[in-house]
Symmetry: C2
Subunit: 385 residues, 2 copies
């Protein structure tokens, strides 16, 4: 597997472009192929989620995404606006509007600015390019509180997989205000594509917690444009990598964050236990605040695991902190070691890996998150006004 | 029903006292009677939770509580220390150590300071008094990050019910680092007492979210010392009131909080839906941060309800904000009203009541919480060091 630059444009025949103007942005990606999607589990579903999920699975030609408002809780007008976005793109490109996916992100309960979109869609379409700059422009167009450009592409056994994403807040287990568009030139039956996407999303975006809120607008689309063949296992490997890298970028870019947190649970009695415990650690505001302050208050991690629902036994737990190079053992099979200073040192970096071995089985899982900071409060206490 | 002062000491024959010295404190309450308890659901249970729950239900003479460390994740030594606390009190008072409940609160993974306890238990016991000052001293002794003294007592049909509590962080649905000791002079079968306590806890402490973390040490004890008779309904009413008032005090005292939040869900399809939705609103960091910033970003409330698991229909939701006197309608049966300025005005007070009518049924529930502030981050990023 080889890492490529260029995001979605690393995949042959895929073009992208986007325009950003103050707090609004519009992105279009084109690439014809069999498309599957995974959507938010929030029962309030944004109009573009409703409109796009209705189209899938199916052959799609393009995706259009608006950053500025969520077009959620906008009733019938919201659906009309979403459909209008698809129509604008389809008319200009001479394709079926039913083959255009729609996405949006921003404040809930506000209609999208159709005038602005109508004014700018022409420029976006005329900018479409297979050059890496196109993928970057598209990614940048849908950034809201994002500060990092999130793109990833790989080549595996001759197959290309490339994706872009946005997301930095309202991010919880079952996705987030996160949008991700992934393209590949593989040829694969729809059911296999859908299965692979679900599995990758479960290992990546669904193991990500920034603040425990799940958005109304989450969407991950995967379009297979080509005719390349590869084993399902190898494709899964490549797709997992792309999704996990994008997910980690989101954790690193968590609103106001200064530190990236990875929680690895090992030795769990079941897969589900491992996942629950890992997510409980990165979700805990007390753990997140302690990581921000480089305060080795590890008891909060134990408490988070204890309330996660996972099976735990006090005398079996081993807990380690690592900064990626140095590792410090805090608790060894239930015994508290004197690790104070060393633990604090390991917390000083911009990345903390928390490894908890529950000592009860063979299952493991990893979740990602970030610290809770003054800036998170600042960003989210004055977002709308 | 009449509100009384004096906390637990409002109940005849109950005595209390406590001593606080820097970051440590010790409280003792005496009052003989049938005792029931409700304990944390965290699978990592602190030693005093293990030791006390083993004793209940049963006739208890006293409770001893230590503030300074949690005595959680402290293995066999933790249990020995907890039992030693009971023994110290029992020897001095000439009672059975099995009739003494034990509680503690503070940092997880640190043994309690038995030397300090042995040095101070004599003074606490000699200070025991049925004067209201005793209840206040006991409450103060177990305060950690608490800033408000939490006491409540009522008289209902001649029966007294009085309680004290501590708790301001690590507070989530199924209790918290919260301790509450409640006394009453009612006479009632153990099963009825247990049933009433569970029901009150479900309506009060279990509807409280400060930060979504559940402690290893939570405990609510109810001791019935007397021989007064009352209908179970009326007793429930009084106990509900005491527990709800104590729970609201905890929400008001949430770590770093500047505003109290009450979420009332009405018109839910089921009781469970109403509870889930109410708790999701007060748990959402995005809602909490918006309340702090007086930012009427109400879409976050809709999103929180949508992801709570409760049944919702966009076109049925009515949303109102109230500061206790003025009420502003934000959404009326799915239609967004132009409420911008008025909504912001209503958010300016130190209390925000969020009322969401789901329009689907007759069930309702109320949850309490507080805003997410810079001070919460500050307090919890440097708690241990």
């Amino acid at each position: 597997m080889k890492i490529l630059s260029g995001g979605v444009c690393a995949v042959p025949a895929v073009k992208a472009y986007g325009i950003k103007e103050n707090r609004q942005g519009l992105a279009v990606i084109t690439g014809k192929g069999n498309t599957v999607g995974v959507f938010t589990l929030n029962k309030i579903r944004a109009a573009p989620v409703i409109a796009t999920s209705r189209r899938l699975p199916g052959i799609m030609n393009a995706v259009v995404a608006y950053g500025g408002s969520a077009n959620a809780f906008t009733g019938k007008k919201g659906i009309q606006d979403a459909e209008r976005m698809a129509l604008l793109v389809a008319s200009a490109l001479g394709i079926d509007p039913e083959s255009v996916g729609i996405a949006s992100t921003g404040i809930i309960g506000r209609p999208i600015n159709m005038d602005w979109i109508e004014d700018h869609v022409g420029n976006v379409l005329s900018g479409l390019t297979s050059d890496p700059s196109g993928s970057e422009a598209a990614t940048r167009a849908i950034m809201t509180t994002d500060t990092i450009l999130k793109q990833m592409a790989v080549e595996i056994d001759g197959v290309h997989i490339g994706g872009i994403a946005k997301g930095s807040g309202m991010i919880e287990p079952n996705m987030a205000t996160m949008l991700s568009f992934i393209y590949t030139d593989v040829e694969m039956p729809t059911e296999s594509l859908q299965k692979c996407l679900r599995e990758s999303v479960d290992k990546s975006f669904n193991m990500l917690v920034v603040d425990g809120d799940t958005s109304t607008n989450d969407m991950v689309l995967l379009t297979a444009t080509g005719d390349k063949r590869i084993s399902e296992e190898r494709f899964q490997e490549g797709l997992d990598f792309v999704c996990m890298q994008l997910a980690k970028m989101m954790a690193r870019d968590g609103e106001g964050s200064t530190k990236f947190i990875e929680a690895c649970i090992r030795g769990a009695r079941s897969k589900d236990d491992a996942r629950k415990a890992a997510k409980a650690v990165v979700r805990s505001p007390l753990v997140k605040a302690a990581v921000f302050g480089e305060d080795p208050n590890w008891g909060r991690i134990i408490a988070a695991i204890g309330r996660s629902g996972a099976e735990v036994k006090e005398g079996k737990i081993t807990l380690e902190f690592s900064d990626g190079t140095k590792t410090v053992t805090i608790v060894k099979e239930g015994n508290i070691l004197d690790s104070g200073k060393k633990a604090k040192e390991v917390m000083a970096g911009d990345e903390l890996i928390i490894i908890a071995d529950l000592g009860l089985g063979k299952h493991e899982a990893t979740a990602w998150g970030c610290d809770l900071t003054h800036d998170y409060v600042q960003i989210n206490s004055a977002y709308m006004t």
